[in-house]
């Protein structure tokens, strides 16, 4: 930084929501600069690896039943067996895929919907904004889980339906954040300057609005991944998941249905619960790191 700009003034501007580069301060520093970042990235990487290769690593067929019902951990079954006599570890390894796929795919749908609604409303203003804003408020206010349950009940349970239902119910927050950012960007002098040059709306959105909104969308989407993973677990636990696939949520459902907690079969309950917790935690921490980077007001160090 050369010249006469005062650091205090710059800070105030950044705090006032001035767009901050995500590419400049390298992504690696944001993610791996702290221990909680390193641990979270490691955990997420580990779970993604399991999601891809879990079915190859599984020692047993996760669907195969045996007479060895609710057996505690042993050499044959390191995490014991289920009420059907299936291998818990194998189910755990295979189940990671559903959590990860649903989490990321639903978050992608949510980000896309939220960005389109937020951009359109914020940029156009007027009656389109009022309608979209009312829609956003509606989706923000209604409790998401009951709505998801109703939607999932109405449609045939499958992985695609699960992704769609979670995506459709979680975009409103993103829409709100994007709209707010677009509203401030729209009034910036560089947008007015571009218009005074004769630039069209498409050009203004592509070169001025979107690049200054993307980091925000990105950080927000990572946080939504965590919400989506939890939602998938909740829906599956309630029996609304894809019945043909094992996920950590369905494992918990089966465990509770078969009375595993009262039978003190901890090996059946704790592993999927712990996996869900750790995955959601790591994704959340990564999301918060991005958010802190974009919004320096949240930073408590320095």
């Amino acid at each position: 930084m050369s010249g006469t700009a005062t650091p205090a003034g710059l800070d105030a501007r950044a705090a006032a929501g001035a767009p901050v580069e995500l590419a400049d301060e390298r992504l690696r520093d944001v993610l791996l600069g702290t221990w909680r970042g390193r641990i979270s990235v490691g955990l997420l990487g580990f779970f993604i690896f399991i999601a891809i290769f879990g079915s190859l690593l599984a020692p047993d067929d996760p669907y195969a039943s045996s007479l060895d019902v609710l057996a505690p951990p042993s050499w044959a079954h390191p995490l014991g067996t289920t009420e059907q006599g299936s291998d818990v570890l194998s189910q755990l390894l295979v189940g990671a895929r559903v959590s990860i796929v649903v989490g990321f795919a639903a978050a992608a749908i949510s980000a896309l919907l939220g960005s389109i609604v937020g951009l359109t409303g914020g940029y156009l203003g007027g009656w389109p904004d009022r309608i979209l804003d009312a829609l956003e408020n509606w989706f923000l206010v209604i409790p998401a889980l009951p709505l998801m349950i109703v939607l999932a009940r109405l449609l045939d349970p499958s992985l695609g339906v699960l992704i769609l239902v979670i995506g459709l119910t979680s975009w409103a927050g993103t829409g709100r954040i994007v709209r707010a950012q677009v509203l401030t960007l729209r009034e910036r002098a560089f947008v007015e300057r571009a218009k005074a040059l004769g630039a069209g709306d498409t050009y203004v959105i592509r070169t001025h609005i979107l690049p200054n909104t993307l980091p925000l969308i990105f950080a927000n989407t990572v946080l939504i991944v965590a919400v989506a993973i939890l939602s998938e677990a909740a829906l599956s636990f309630l029996g609304l998941g894809d019945p043909s696939r094992i996920s950590w949520g369905t494992m918990l459902e089966n465990a509770f249905d078969s009375g595993a907690p009262s039978a003190e079969a901890w090996w059946y309950v704790i592993p999927p619960g712990l996996c869900i917790t750790l995955l959601v935690l790591s994704v959340s921490v990564i999301g918060f790191l991005f958010e802190e980077h974009i919004n320096p007001r949240l930073r408590d160090d320095r």
């Binding site: 930084m1 050369s2 010249g3 006469t4 700009a5 003034g9 710059l10 501007r13 001035a18 767009p19 901050v20 580069e21 400049d24 910036r188 002098a189 560089f190 007015e192 300057r193 571009a194 218009k195 005074a196 040059l197 004769g198 630039a199 050009y203 070169t207 001025h208 690049p211 200054n212």
Partner: protein
């Protein structure tokens, strides 16, 4: 500051009115303004904040739609009543550019200087082969070394450097007119002088017409050929910079001039300072809109709305009943006082 065609107008504003709706009420930010901006001329528009000077600037660039009146570029109406379609507007976009007040807001933080200065050429469809050369020349013109600055982002620049980049981006299309909305009010005094000298230098070299929007009377006086004083959406006085500042004819201009601190022994005689605030533009006073604050108001001021009329110097106009020959001799007496 004589130019080749001293009488040709670049932009003519006629009876312009701009309305905004604020909390359900209609506010006239600009209310019946007529103004000529001549080629090669530096025109100052001065007034308190909220008087409508920035809105006037935006209207001159056809960025806001007039409620009444028109804006023409070289005799062709481009905005408002009788506007002649897209051709006129695209002409305006090429020939007249704008510089804004806040150098922190003018530049997109995610574009490098090169992209910022190239943008006008891209938007206006200038062949790509010419971009590099023209961008470099524009940066040279504002005193920034292209080699050092092309690759920088706005946050790597100081306030003065940002404003130079904004000026370069405005100049790269080689416009005939440049509208500067408080271009130096957010800069340090030393940087301010540099930016002003860059602008003046360019004005002379390129025969550029400038509109200077400012609340700083001494700046307008030292810089401008002509000055228009705005109050509550209307021009209350206009004329040559020397006439308007040194021999103001409208009580409002007098009050503004009096409010400028003068380093003079003994305080420089009597000073008339204004009381009160700028009225709400949704509730414009009847008669002369300045009369509630006017130290010289007399009987008809609260009922008769004065238009601009000749007052004193050559081409000097003031919207004040004191200069209306039709008014009583009491007015004359007050004017002479």
């Amino acid at each position: 500051m004589a130019t080749a065609e001293p009488n040709g107008s670049l932009i003519e504003v006629r009876d312009l009115a701009i309305e905004f709706s604020a909390r359900g009420q209609l506010a006239r930010a600009v209310d019946g303004v007529s103004l000529d901006w001549r080629r090669g001329e530096i025109l100052g528009v001065v007034g308190e904040s909220g008087c409508g000077k920035s809105t006037l600037a935006r209207a001159m660039l056809a960025l806001v739609e007039p409620a009444a009146g028109s804006v023409s570029l070289r005799g062709q109406v481009v905005s408002g009543e009788g506007a002649g379609g897209r051709k006129g507007v695209s002409d305006l976009r090429r020939r007249v550019q704008m510089i804004f007040q806040d150098p922190y807001q003018t530049l997109n933080p995610r574009q490098r200087v090169e992209a910022i200065v190239t943008e006008p050429l891209r938007v206006q469809g200038v062949p790509e082969g010419k971009h590099d050369e023209r961008v470099r020349r524009a940066l040279d013109d504002v005193g920034l070394d292209p080699e050092r600055y092309l690759g920088r982002y706005p946050h790597q620049l100081s306030g003065g450097q940002r404003q130079r980049v904004a000026i370069a981006a405005a100049l790269v299309l080689e416009p005939e007119g440049l509208i500067c909305d408080e271009p130096v009010s957010m800069l340090d005094a030393s940087v301010r002088a540099q930016i002003l000298s860059v602008l003046l230098e360019l004005q002379k070299r390129r025969v550029l017409a400038l509109v200077f929007i400012t609340h700083d009377l001494s700046l307008a006086w030292s810089l401008c050929d002509r000055i228009a004083v705005m109050y509550l959406g209307r021009i209350v006085e206009q004329g040559s910079a020397v006439d308007v500042i040194e021999r103001p004819k409208h009580p409002y201009t007098k009050a503004l001039v009096n409010a400028v601190p003068v380093p003079e022994a003994g305080g420089g005689g009597r000073r008339e300072l204004l009381g009160g605030e700028l009225p709400d533009p949704t509730a414009i006073p009847p008669g002369c809109r300045f009369h509630p604050r006017c130290p010289r108001r007399f009987e008809p001021c609260d009922s008769v709305d004065p238009s601009l009329m000749p007052a004193g110097g050559r081409d000097q106009l003031a919207a004040c009943l004191l200069h209306d020959p039709a008014q009583s001799s009491a007015a004359k007496a007050a004017a002479d006082a």
